[in-house]
């Protein structure tokens, strides 16, 4: 065998691997669904659903945050239901997609990581009894204490995306995950509405933070859908 032939075979293998990976990618769905789940908290927070009168600050539900905050109970219940159901929907999507395209890929490490991180996050919440509270001893850890906006589910979602990027073997998804993680940390530590005020766009703090975190995921989800397509269409054979 000569080197030109060997080189040609290596190129073909690279091409066919890339084509298969591309046909297998379905990450637009978890991105879009996660974004919609984050945005779905907006009405719960806006209408203070589940808040039974009295001083808003005097009644919190299980605030999904590291330090005391004033989040309505309805919002907490929403996260407790939406996140696990979201992961179940993503697992179902990949299962159905695998059968339709003929390319099955591992998804359970992503789903298990997401749900495990979510469970861990619940154990950090301030309303959980102290003996059960995972982060109790670290409550005074000053960096963690800055996560006071109560949007820890957004961070959980962003961390699990790194696992998905590894499973999908996608550098693009890894890049998206890195940017999304930065947005999620920002949404938990900074009043993004401050930026809006400079351009006279007044939003409540929580709404601006949720809109930024969820809006980013919806945007990249839709963009990925445009680039990757719905999947399951006819596969174009690699040049040989």
């Amino acid at each position: 065998m000569d080197s030109a032939r060997a080189e040609q075979i290596l190129d073909s293998l690279e091409e066919i691997s890339r084509e298969t990976r591309r046909a297998r990618h379905g990450y637009w769905f978890p991105l879009l669904l996660s974004g919609l789940i984050v945005l779905g908290d907006l009405p719960f927070s806006y209408f203070r659903l589940g808040h039974y009168g009295g001083s808003f600050n005097s009644f919190h539900g299980l605030c999904l945050c590291a330090v005391d905050s004033n989040h309505p109970f309805g919002s907490t219940l929403y996260w407790l239901l939406a996140v696990p159901l979201g992961y179940a929907a993503i697992a179902a999507y990949y299962f159905i997609r695998g059968r339709r395209t003929g390319l099955k890929a591992r998804i359970w490490p992503y789903v298990v990581t997401g749900i495990a991180l979510f469970a861990l996050m619940i154990l950090t919440a301030t309303q959980v009894p102290k003996p059960l509270r995972f982060m109790y001893r670290l409550d005074n850890w000053r960096y963690y204490a800055h996560f006071n906006q109560g949007f820890m589910p957004v961070v959980v979602i962003s961390l699990a995306l790194f696992v998905l990027a590894k499973l999908e073997r996608s550098k693009m998804l890894l890049f998206i995950s890195l940017v999304n993680f930065a947005v999620a940390v920002l949404a938990n530590t900074y009043n993004i509405s401050n930026v809006g005020q400079r351009i006279h766009w007044i939003w409540p703090d929580w709404a601006a933070n949720l809109a930024a975190a969820g809006g980013f995921l919806v945007f990249v989800g839709l963009l990925s859908l445009l680039v990757l397509g719905l999947g399951g269409g006819r596969h174009e054979p690699a040049p040989r």
Binding site: M1, I16, R24, R99, G102, R240
Partner: protein
Amino acid sequence: MSPHPVNGLDDVVHQRARLGILAILNETTKTDFAYLKDALELTDGNLSRHLTVLEEANLIDVEKGYEGKRPRTWVKITKLGKKALAYEVEALKTLVKRVEQTR
């Protein structure tokens, strides 16, 4: 003198279509027979023969079953298959490098 890299090429794996099959399987947990046929532009009979050779060498697992009333065949690469593919790619790269060095 080190052995020529061509000696490192495995006859079972080296055949072009079989390399293609292993490359596709390496990217998924399971791949459908129809996808392999489409992607590699092989006939049913041809693909079946290649799969039999790879299965006999324990490089892949073939699962035949039904989805509803429709028969469906799923193919999976084994650990040995992954190793064989990596070894083959390495041998090809060594061959290319060796020729480039002698130029």
